[in-house]
C-alpha cells in the first residue's frame, strides 16, 4: 500500500526522480538507542571485540554531548529514540557475488542509473552499492584486486583487513569530534573501504552509491580511504532516498588519509530527498568529512554538488599536516523551497608551504536558506601557508537567503590568506537577454546557473559533471516565474 502512495507522490512530484520505494523485506532492529542496540549491530556484523568496545566508548561519549546549535539552521528536535539504527534487506545468506543479490535490489540500482550487473556496468567506474545499512555489492572486484587496490564494503574490510581498519578508524575523525560523529561511531552499519597501495594509481574511478529505502531508519555509514605513499585515487559518492513525509536522519563519517605524495580526489553528488515544496519530509544530512594530508606533498581535493536534503550540515575539511601539502574544496550547494544548508570547509594549515583553495558556489531559490561557513586556520609553524577563498552566492527570487561566515585564524605572519565574496541575483537583464535569443525561462535559468557553477563542475569526472548539471536543472524547476 505504501508503494501505491509513493507512486502517486511520484507522479505529482516528477521532479525528484529517485523518490520511489522498493518493497523488499527488511531485517530491522527495534527503534531506540542504548548499549544493547550498539551490541546488536556489532553482533550482526560479527565484529571483533575491540570494535564493539570502540562503539560503546563512542556511545557513552555521545550521551554526554549535545546537538550543535551554532549553524545557521532551524533544526526541529530529533527524537533519537524513535529511529531504527539498523535495517538491511533480508537475504538468506550474504551473497558471495552479484549473481546472488536479490534481483529487486539490482533493479533498484538500475532505476537509479547505477547498474551493478555485468552487462550494463558503468564503464571505467567500480561501484559499491549501499542499501539502507548494508552494502549489497561491489563491481569490478577482480580487476581492482589485480592492481592491489582494496575496494569493498566497510563490513567486509572489518573481516578481511582488520589490522588496517583498526589502525586508521577514527584517526582522522575521532568519536569525540562532534555529536553526529560520536553517534555515527556508535551505530555505523556499513560504508565503503578503500586502500591504495604505495605507488599505485587506481586504475578506475571508485564510486559508492548510497540509498536509503526503509522507513524510520537512519543511515549511518562510514567511509575510510587510505592512500599509501605516491598513490592516487578518485572516488565518487552519490545518494538518493524515497519521498516520505517524515524526516530521516543521515549522519555519515568520511575519513581520508593521504600519505607522502599521495593524491585523493573525493567527489560527492548529494541528492537525498529534499522534502516537498511545503517543506514536508526530507533527509537531515549531518555529515563529518575530513581528510588528513598526513605526510609531505600530499593532496586532498573535495568536490561536492549538494542539491538534496531538507537540512545539510557538512564541512568537508583538510588537515594540511605534511609540508607542501595541499587541500582543495569545490562546492556547489543549491537550496530550493524550504531547504536549508549550512556548508563549507575547514582548511587547517599545520605544515610549511601548505596551500589551500576554496571555491564555493551557493544557489538559493524559493524560501530556502543557504550559508557558507569556512574556517582557514594557519598554525604558528605553518610558514608561507597560502589560502585562496572565493565564495559566490546566487539568489533566485526574493524570498530566499544567502549568508557567508568566513573565519580566518592566522598565527603565522608569513601566511597569505585571500578571501573574495560576491552575492548576486539572477539578473532580469540576463534572463531577458537569453529569452530574446530564443531560450525559454527555465532553460535560461539553467544556463545561467550552470555558468555560475562552471569552476566547480570542471573538477568533477566527466560523466558526473553531466549528471550534476542535469540534477541542478531538475532541482530548479519552478524556481522562477
Amino acid at each position: 500500500m505504501n508503494q501505491t502512495v509513493e507512486q502517486v507522490n511520484q507522479v505529482i512530484q516528477q521532479r525528484y526522480k529517485a523518490g520511489f520505494y522498493t518493497d523488499i523485506e527488511s531485517d530491522r532492529v527495534r527503534a531506540g538507542l542504548d548499549e544493547e542496540i550498539v551490541a546488536m549491530i556489532s553482533a550482526k556484523k560479527n565484529e571483533p571485540a575491540w570494535l564493539l568496545e570502540w562503539r560503546l566508548k563512542a556511545f557513552h561519549h555521545w550521551q554526554t554531548m549535545r546537538e550543535p546549535n551554532w549553524a545557521h539552521l532551524k533544526v526541529p528536535a530529533i527524537d533519537f529514540q524513535k529511529i531504527h539504527y539498523y535495517a538491511a534487506p533480508k537475504q538468506k545468506n550474504r551473497p558471495k557475488s552479484l549473481d546472488e543479490v536479490d534481483p529487486k535490489l539490482l533493479e533498484t540500482f538500475d532505476k537509479l542509473g547505477v547498474p551493478l550487473h555485468e552487462r550494463a556496468r558503468l564503464a571505467g567506474v567500480a561501484v559499491d552499492a549501499v542499501f539502507d545499512s548494508v552494502s549489497v555489492g561491489t563491481t569490478f572486484q577482480k580487476e581492482l584486486k589485480e592492481a592491489g587496490v582494496i575496494f569493498c564494503s566497510f563490513s567486509e574490510a572489518v573481516q578481511e583487513h582488520p589490522e588496517l581498519v583498526r589502525e586508521y578508524l577514527g584517526s582522522v575523525v575521532p568519536f569525540t569530534d562532534n555529536y553526529f560523529a560520536a553517534l555515527n561511531s556508535a551505530v555505523f552499519s556499513d560504508g565503503s573501504f578503500v586502500y591504495i597501495p604505495a605507488g599505485t594509481r587506481c586504475p578506475m574511478e571508485l564510486s559508492t552509491y548510497f540509498r536509503i529505502n526503509a522507513r524510520d531508519t537512519g543511515q549511518f555509514e562510514r567511509t575510510l580511504i587510505i592512500a599509501e605513499p605516491g598513490s592516487e585515487v578518485s572516488y565518487l559518492e552519490g545518494c538518493t532516498a524515497p519521498m516520505r513525509d517524515e524526516n530521516q536522519l543521515h549522519a555519515a563519517v568520511v575519513e581520508l588519509v593521504a600519505r607522502k605524495k599521495a593524491k585523493i580526489k573525493y567527489s560527492t553528488v548529494q541528492n537525498w530527498y529534499p522534502g516537498d515544496e511545503n517543506g514536508k519530509g526530507g533527509i537531515y544530512n549531518f555529515v563529518t568529512k575530513r581528510g588528513d594530508c598526513r605526510e609531505d606533498d600530499a593532496r586532498i581535493s573535495w568536490t561536492q554538488v549538494e542539491t538534496g536534503s531538507a537540512i545539510t550540515w557538512k564541512y568537508p575539511s583538510c588537515i594540511l599536516r605534511g609540508d607542501r601539502s595541499a587541500g582543495e574544496f569545490y562546492s556547489v550547494a543549491l537550496t530550493h523551497n524550504h531547504q536549508q544548508a549550512d556548508t563549507g570547509t575547514k582548511m587547517i594549515h599545520l605544515g610549511k608551504d601548505t596551500t589551500s583553495k576554496i571555491i564555493s558556489k551557493g544557489i538559493s531559490a524559493g524560501k530556502s536558506n543557504n550559508s557558507y561557513r569556512g574556517l582557514v586556520r594557519i598554525a604558528k609553524r605553518a610558514a608561507n601557508a597560502r589560502n585562496y577563498t572565493q565564495c559566490d552566492s546566487l539568489l533566485i527570487g526574493k524570498t530566499c537567503g544567502a549568508h557567508t561566515f568566513p573565519y580566518i585564524e592566522s598565527a603565522n605572519p608569513t601566511a597569505k590568506v585571500e578571501h573574495e565574496a560576491t552575492t548576486s541575483r539572477i539578473g532580469e537583464d540576463q534572463l531577458f537577454y537569453c529569452r530574446a535569443r530564443g531560450l525559454d525561462e527555465e532553460d535560461a535559468v539553467a544556463m545561467i546557473v550552470d555558468g555560475f557553477c562552471k569552476e566547480v563542475f570542471k573538477e568533477l569526472p566527466m560523466e558526473f559533471a553531466v549528471e550534476a548539471k542535469a540534477l541542478l536543472e531538475i532541482s530548479l524547476e519552478g524556481a522562477v516565474g
Binding site: G427, E428, D429, Q430, F432, Y433, C434, R435, A436, R437, G438, L439, D440, E441, D443, M447, I448, D450, G451, F452, C453, K454, E455
Partner: protein
C-alpha cells in the same frame, strides 16, 4: 513585415512611447534617430517583449501576428531579433554554446531539426571572419570581459547565425571606431536579401552612409515626429535635433 499602430508603452507607470506609428515592409531597412531619452531603446524592448514594458494602447503586428501575445522567446523563434544597446554578460557560459543553444531552441520551437555542431561551427566561423573578430571569443563566456566593440560585433555574429526575419539594431554603431563600423555595416549588408527587414537605431549619419536606408525616422518624446528618405539623416547630421523644436513650435 512590421506594423506599429499608435503604440503606447509605459515603464514603471510612466508613459514613454506616446502613440508611435511605424510600418516596415519586407526587405526594407529603416533608420530611427532621435535624442537621448526619446524612447528608442524602449521601442526595441517593447518589440522584443521585455517584462515591465507594458503596452497600454495601440497594436504591434509582426507578419500579421499580434506580437503582444507572444513571450520573448516566441518572438525570437518567429524571427524577431534585437541587438542590444548594452549586451549582457553571462559569466561561465561559453559563447558558442550559448549561441548554438539559442539557435536550436528557436529551431525546435519552429518544428525544425537541430543543427549539428559541424554546420553550426562553420556558420559561426564565417561570420566571425566577416567581422574580423578573434575566434577565441567563441570560447570565452558570453560578453564577459569583451571590449565595447567586441560586444557589439558579437551581437552581429548572433544575428548572422540566427538569421532573423526582422532585426532591430539598437545603437550597434555606438562606441565603434571607423574600421569596426565598416565591418558591422558589411555584416548587416551581407544579410540584406530583399526579404529580411531591419530597424537600425543610431545617432550617427556615419553608419547610414554604408547602409543606405529606405526610410529615416526621427523619434522624439515617444513619437515619430519626422520621416523621410536618407536626405533626412544628412539634415540631422548638419543641424542636430534643434529643428525639431522649431517645427514643434
Amino acid at each position: 513585415m512590421l506594423k506599429i499602430n499608435n503604440l503606447k508603452v509605459a515603464v514603471n507607470g510612466k508613459e514613454i512611447l506616446k502613440g508611435l506609428d511605424l510600418e516596415v515592409g519586407p526587405g526594407e531597412l529603416h533608420a530611427i534617430m532621435g535624442p537621448n531619452g526619446s524612447g528608442k531603446s524602449t521601442l526595441g524592448y517593447a518589440l522584443a517583449g521585455r517584462d515591465g514594458y507594458d503596452i497600454t494602447d495601440g497594436s504591434v503586428e509582426f507578419e500579421g501576428q499580434d506580437l503582444s501575445e507572444l513571450e520573448p522567446e516566441e518572438r525570437a523563434a518567429a524571427g524577431l531579433f534585437l541587438a542590444f544597446q548594452y549586451p549582457v554578460e553571462i559569466p561561465g557560459v561559453n559563447n558558442a554554446y550559448f549561441l548554438r543553444a539559442a539557435l536550436n531552441a528557436q529551431r525546435k520551437a519552429r518544428g525544425e531539426e537541430e543543427v549539428d555542431s559541424m554546420t553550426f561551427l562553420k556558420t559561426v566561423r564565417e561570420s566571425i571572419k566577416t567581422l574580423k573578430m578573434d575566434e577565441g571569443l567563441l570560447k570565452r563566456a558570453v560578453n564577459e570581459g569583451f571590449s565595447g566593440g567586441e560586444k557589439k560585433r558579437n551581437e552581429i555574429v548572433q544575428m548572422a547565425v540566427l538569421q532573423p526575419k526582422l532585426a532591430i539594431l539598437d545603437e550597434t554603431d555606438s562606441g565603434l571606431d571607423i574600421d569596426a563600423l565598416k565591418l558591422v555595416a558589411e555584416g548587416i549588408n551581407g544579410l540584406r536579401d530583399g526579404k529580411r527587414s531591419f530597424v537600425v537605431i543610431t545617432h550617427y549619419q556615419r553608419l547610414l552612409d554604408y547602409l543606405t536606408p529606405d526610410r529615416v525616422h526621427v523619434l522624439s518624446d515617444g513619437r515619430i515626429v519626422e520621416s523621410g528618405g536618407k536626405e533626412l539623416s544628412h539634415r540631422l547630421e548638419a543641424e542636430g535635433y534643434a529643428f525639431l523644436e522649431e517645427s514643434a513650435a
